[in-house]
Subunit: 151 residues, 2 copies
DNA sequence: GCTTATAGTTGACTTTGTCAAGCATAAAGA
DNA sequence: TCTTTATGCTTGACAAAGTCAACTATAAGC
């Protein structure tokens, strides 16, 4: 298999960045930024906050196993972070909603994440921040266009 | 708490990129690109391939719990991917090494990752690829400088 | 009404990950 | 040399994450 040298170099560069960035972002792996909740719980709370969703909706959006999600939701309900109201239209479904505690948990996580990002950015000058966000926009644009082509 | 509007915009931009990129990279979460091994197993195999390492070395490099690692290594040994030779100098230690199968597994993962990256890049023009890698280099440079300041 | 599809639960299981206790060996100090 | 302490690794016990198959209840198509 013959490879073009410049493409090879680019592949190496991209893989290098992937490793770098997963390490960079990976801080929030275990407990979510010092909150008592995990990243998974947070993502589920976030989806529930968006709109009127069911378990199946969330499973699709977050690519979670429905069985795992069912137990996760039970736990969240036991912790009084969410409510499950049986649907009237379809009695197999439950409409999920946040409680006040659930909303507060989400707000806390949001603020923690904001603060962490802010701490990072404060070490940069205005010019550097502009460079950073421009570079991020460039990557998003190029990779998004790519995945549209693939799909 | 008063916030500068430009900083606020940058924070939003960075968090947006974080979500974007974790989604982008997140494909390799469960099984590693269709190989029968997990990301964790691959990372361990990768470290073992580097040089003459012990369990403690790997635990430090990958920030893994030594107990978890011990079991993971047992599993890899049972699968004939690695060897554990007792050290002569220090009889508490084991020198870890890859078997032929282990090396093959690593090669396969490597090639899969390469192929995936290549597929992404092939959708871009040479100019776009240059823009992409330049943007990645910019981000690495800015964020690495940042974390050096913090530390 | 019968069949099939869908929403969700439950049981059984593996993997990931953490913590504490324990064993053997090595290193340091008396 | 003998004791103490530190180190490398294993094991037990546990919780959370995640998968798969079986199951119940309801909905929808024919």
């Amino acid at each position: 298999m013959t490879r073009s040298a410049p493409l090879d170099r680019d592949i190496v560069a991209v893989r290098r960045f992937n490793r770098f960035y997963t390490r960079e972002v990976g801080v929030l792996r275990k407990t979510f930024l010092g909150t008592p909740w995990s990243l998974g719980e947070m993502r589920v709370l976030f989806e529930i906050a968006q709109n009127d969703v069911t378990a199946t909706d969330i499973a699709h959006m977050l690519d979670l196993d429905i069985a795992y999600l069912s137990r996760l939701l039970s736990r969240l309900e036991k912790q009084k972070l969410i409510t499950r109201k049986p649907s009237i239209k379809d009695r197999r479904q439950y409409h999920l909603g946040l409680t006040a505690s659930g909303l507060a948990a989400l707000d806390l996580a949001n603020e923690r994440q904001r603060a962490q990002t802010a701490a990072t950015l404060r070490c940069l000058s205005v010019t550097e921040r502009k460079q950073l966000t421009a570079a991020m926009a460039t990557i998003e644009k190029l990779l998004d266009a790519k995945s549209n082509q693939v799909t």
